[in-house]
Amino acid sequence: MKPPLNRTLFRYELRRLLWNRVTLAQSLYTHAVILFVALTTILQEKTSDPGVWTSYTLFYGLGAALMFNNISGGYLFVRPKMARAMDAVLVTPLSPGGYVASSALACFIFNIVNFALHMLFALALRHPGIPSPGIVPASIAVVSAGAMLLLALARFTLTSKDPGQGQIAMMLLTIGTLVAGSLAAVHIKPSTGHLWSMAAVSLAALPFAWRAAIGTLGREEVVLS
């Protein structure tokens, strides 16, 4: 399916996320809190065990990705919907799918930049400098899962009468992931093969999530919600 992107909207939305004191402060706070939790649990010492880094990516990385979803999705989808600002966009030639696609892509770039920074911070703090082959597929799986949940958040927000609930659900999911990470991450060490399978499945599911989020979205659903 050809993404109905609008260049102007995408450019503006990306700038609103990246050149923004609020989203910057929220991102820094997220990095700090997750790293603090990790440093008191899974990353207490410098570890040369590659499995620890895989688990870190799968749990804490996913927690971070969900928080970045919350920050960016909250800014570009929840706020305008709650302010009843959607009608102004929907009366233009841009389709609702085009709106979601352009804004979601901006969110996705913001999220991926932050996720990469988060992993770099963690590796810089506790990594002994040996190869951790699981990080790459685990990161792909986490980023893809994060993107799918972002699309779900966008769809839910635009078609719900109570759009704030999507953000609350995302927050609860983040807390659950971080708690699970604190309790179980040390014991879960999937093989690199399993991680590549997870990455492949997540990537393969992404176009379906894209289609489900924007393919059938009509103006009426947004206006009446």
Binding site: L9, R16, A88, V91, T92, R219
Partner: protein, 316 residues
């Protein structure tokens, strides 16, 4: 005059008592049509149907003489010929006026120099040029209304939809906005469909009206014709000296009319047929009454509006 928008039998029901049913009206080039009704009458639903934000249950919408399915993807390409100014302007508060305009212009494919060429004159004309770099979050309701109008106009539409364009405007801004809308219609031939609760303002701007109640059109037509129809043979006569009851009765009888109301020195007459000013002056002279003013009774839009709703209540 070319018909820009015509609607026949437009229907969309949410429930037996909510929505619109069998709505008919038309709007010609350069005409200002006011769509009136109480809250919940179906004005917003109609606007949303016309703008393709809702799917119609039945009826036909013709834009520029062609039937259009406003809820289809094809209509997206057609949207550049329409400008919309909504009750809730929906600007990005963290961006400047200029950035907001540029973003929305981009959604219509208007970018770079072409955008500035269109937006700058409008910003100057509506007196927002000096604040174009300011964040919209600091704008007053009136400034947002004007910015919303600029956004609606910057891609050069032939038809404008305005939802409560005068609400929140101070008297000076109101006059400016009214003059601007009249200029748009009269000089540039832009057709304007507006919804409003301000009947005085509508009376000064609209050429035709549609009155909606409970989702159905109660009255529609050219404002001038509706006023003439209702005025009938009503006249206002002002005397220099307040006449006695007997003299007034004789005056009314001579003109084959009845007195429908009196204020100090001013008499309202309901005549059986047309009365000329000459005969009024002559009859007054015969009875020793000096007529200083004689004119046809004016019917206000407010009277027309409430009469039409009352008549339907009585009929029901």
């Amino acid at each position: 005059m070319e018909e820009i928008l015509s609607v026949k039998g437009l229907t969309r029901k949410y429930s037996p008592s909510a929505g619109v049913e069998g709505v008919d009206f038309s709007l010609r080039r350069g005409e200002i049509l006011a769509y009136l009704g109480h809250n919940g009458a179906g004005k917003t639903t109609t606007v949303r149907l016309l703008l393709g934000l809702l799917k119609a249950g039945a009826g036909e919408i013709r834009y520029f003489g062609e039937p259009r399915d406003t809820y289809s993807e094809d209509f997206d390409r057609f949207r550049a010929r329409i400008g919309v100014c909504l009750d809730n302007p929906g600007f990005y508060p963290d961006m400047s006026a200029m950035e907001n305009l540029e973003l929305f212009a981009g959604l219509y494919g208007l970018e770079g120099a072409a955008f500035e060429e269109k937006a700058i004159p409008l910003l100057k004309e509506l007196e927002l040029y000096d604040v174009r770099r300011d964040k919209v979050s600091g704008f007053s309701k009136g400034m947002l209304q004007k910015l919303s109008l600029i956004r609606a106009m910057q891609h050069g539409p032939e038809l404008l939809f305005l939802d409560e364009p005068m609400s929140g405007l101070d008297p000076a801004a109101r006059v400016m906005m009214r003059d601007y809308l009249l200029r748009l219609a009269r000089e540039k031939g832009v057709s304007i469909f507006l919804t409003s609760h301000d009947l005085n303002e509508v009376e000064q701007t609209a050429d035709s009206i549609v009155i909606l109640e409970k989702g159905r059109v109660r009255l529609s037509g050219a404002l001038k014709d509706l006023k003439a129809e209702r005025a009938g043979h009503g006249y206002v006569v002002v005397f220099r000296v307040v006449p006695s009851t007997e003299a007034l009765a004789a005056f009314a009888s001579a003109l084959r009319s009845s007195v429908s109301g009196t204020e100090t020195g001013t008499v309202h007459l309901a005549a059986e047929s047309e009365i000329s000013i000459t005969s009024a002056l002559e009859e007054g002279k015969k009875l020793g009454l000096e007529v200083v003013e004689f004119r046809r009774e004016e019917v206000s839009l407010e009277t027309i509006y409430f009469d039409s709703l009352r008549r339907n209540e009585t009929a029901a």
